[in-house]
């Protein structure tokens, strides 16, 4: 299985420990091209840590992470991003002091070095691209607003938009609907379904209803290990999963 080159992302034997505590333990995870994978699990299961490991925020203690069949462990965060992996954080991580337009503009994957940024021109093409994404994330009317004035849900969308404009091959979303109203959730689900047409997506989510509305394949993490994997239906009826969630 590990020899296969079909996977977009392959984690094999990945382990990480914080002062002796193994947050992730010998984890194997494979993501196909075009797949939408939802990772669920109780608090402390290691979900966010897995994302941290993939995007280089935390270094693995052992094991390998391959993206498009190339080892990415040890690369710097920005290098991993440039390979085509985008990451959304749990709490919306946007530039509050800048406008929505500027937030999106900065995320365009060009002019990323010092000189490039210094002599960056805001061309027609750039404006168009920003407008296009802004429409997608329902923020076209807010482009000139300072990002800190947005609602919580709008901030979440903005961050998703900032990732979309990078056009990553793998998009990782950490609780994208946390703190959203019901209507915002529906819109977000719609947005995600739009997004995944072109790329692979990993979503961490607690909200089972939301998971049902988007999930293709679900992985259940527990204590740093995979407890179960399969489609939503199978998972929901898996006795081990039930125990972890309800058992105590």
């Amino acid at each position: 299985m590990s020899n296969s080159t079909d996977f977009l992302l392959a984690l094999e034997g990945v382990t990480v420990s914080f002062d002796g505590f193994k947050a992730v333990n010998d984890l194997n995870l494979y993501i196909d091209k075009g797949e939408l994978r939802v990772i669920i699990g109780p608090n402390g299961a290691g979900k966010t840590t897995v994302l941290d490991l993939i995007c280089g925020r935390t270094r693995v203690s052992g094991g390998s992470i391959k993206f498009k069949d190339q080892e990415i462990t040890g690369l710097k965060e920005h290098e991993i991003v440039r390979r085509g992996i985008g990451r959304k954080f749990q709490t919306p991580s946007i530039y509050e002091d800048l406008t929505v337009f500027e937030n999106l503009e900065l995320s365009i994957p060009r002019g990323r070095n010092v000189v490039g940024a210094l002599f960056w021109q805001r061309s027609e093409e750039v404006v168009e691209r920003v407008h296009q994404i802004a429409k997608m994330i329902f923020l076209f009317d807010f482009l000139s607003r300072s990002a800190e004035t947005l609602s919580h849900g709008q901030k979440q969308w903005l961050e998703i938009g900032m990732l979309l404009i990078q056009d990553p091959e793998l998009l990782m979303l950490d609780e994208p609907v946390a703190g959203m109203s019901v209507s915002e959730r529906a819109k977000t689900a719609e947005l995600l379904n739009e997004i995944i047409k072109h790329r692979s997506v990993i979503v961490i989510e607690h909200d089972m209803k939301f998971v049902e509305s988007i999930a293709h394949r679900v992985t259940v993490l527990h204590q740093g290990k995979i407890l179960a994997e399969g489609d939503m239906d199978t998972i929901q009826h898996d006795p081990k999963v039930k125990e972890v969630y309800l058992g105590h």
């Binding site: 914080f18 002062d19 947050a23 966010t48 840590t49 941290d52 925020r57 935390t58």
Partner: protein, 308 residues
């Protein structure tokens, strides 16, 4: 430089040098402890730390005067009273500072740096206005001066022993407070997760205030102890700050142990280098060494590895 000395003499010299290093270590720990507690708890460097120490030194000076004038018979033990006074006054000043200044700035650690620097200027001028621009001499009880001969050559300085003992007691007390008391539990909870602790019913503001007060109080005791080895003047606090900051920063924010190890590393390298080089070069090399090591361990020596 070791030509012409017998092995025995050399041994004694190294013993004395090790002792000198230990005194320096104690001094660093004493200086840094108060600051480290505050830094660990709030991520804030109190730039007026040196002035809080000098406040303690002035309190010692005043106490000694009062004893000399009113109860000369009790003079030999005035120092213990002075330390208590220093702790209370500096601690109270710390509480006031927290309430007036620091609590408004928790979200902005760099701004706290600047505000406390402003405070240090004000305190310096206040000292100057109250106690005069000149340094004051704090007279010590006779039993604290001098050295105990161990062998013919090796002598152990009494005030060095005193500082070491004091450091041990205060460090022990702080450790007990932190790891055995309810307040300590709350402090550690707040350090680990401020929001959650607040939600769990811990009055984080009160914890902050007490921590800051305690840190400043310990600075006061340190200042009191330093009247034995250093000068007491309006700007004397400035003499200690760079060393103190480096010890704390090098030790890292999270643990008391880090501060102690960092004080140990810095004091030993400084006192060893001082022996082989001149004082100035030793200082420069020590500072560079610390900067270099900090580069290797950006968050300090002892950092808990956690998911950020």
């Amino acid at each position: 430089m070791f030509m012409g000395y017998s092995l025995g003499e050399l041994g004694s010299i190294f013993a004395m040098q090790a002792f000198a290093g230990l005194i320096l270590f104690s001094v660093f720990v004493l200086m840094a402890l108060g600051l480290a507690i505050i830094f660990g708890q709030m991520g804030v460097i109190n730039m007026a730390h040196g002035e809080f120490m000098i406040l303690g030194a002035y309190m010692t000076y005043m106490t000694s005067h009062i004893f000399q004038t009113y109860i000369p018979g009790a003079y030999p033990v005035y120092f213990f009273v002075a330390m208590a006074v220093a702790f209370i006054v500096s601690g109270a000043a710390g509480l006031a500072t927290e309430w007036l200044l620091i609590r408004h700035l928790y979200a902005r650690p760099l701004d706290t740096l600047l505000a406390t620097w402003g405070l240090s200027l004000i305190m310096q001028q206040a000292f100057r206005s109250i106690f005069g621009a000149r340094e004051v001499g704090v007279e010590l009880p006779q039993w604290m001066m001098g050295a105990l001969p161990v062998t013919d050559v090796i002598e152990v300085q009494i005030n060095g022993l005193f500082v070491m003992g004091l450091t041990l007691i205060i460090t022990g007390a702080v450790a007990l407070l932190l790891y055995r008391s309810r307040w300590g539990l709350q402090v550690r909870a707040v350090v680990a997760n401020r929001t959650m602790s607040g939600a769990a019913g811990i009055d984080t503001r009160r914890v902050d205030r007490l921590t800051f007060g305690l840190g400043c109080g310990i600075a006061g005791i340190a200042g009191s102890a330093f009247t034995m080895i250093g000068s007491t003047g309006p700007t004397a606090g400035q003499l200690y700050i760079v060393d103190t900051f480096l010890v704390v920063v090098f030790g890292g924010a999270q643990s008391l142990l880090g501060t102690i190890f960092s004080a140990f590393t810095i004091s030993q390298s400084q006192s060893t280098l001082e022996f082989f080089l001149t004082g100035s070069m030793a200082k420069v090399l020590t500072l560079l060494l610390v900067i270099g090591l900090l580069m290797l361990r950006p968050q300090g020596l002892f950092v808990l590895k956690v998911r950020r």
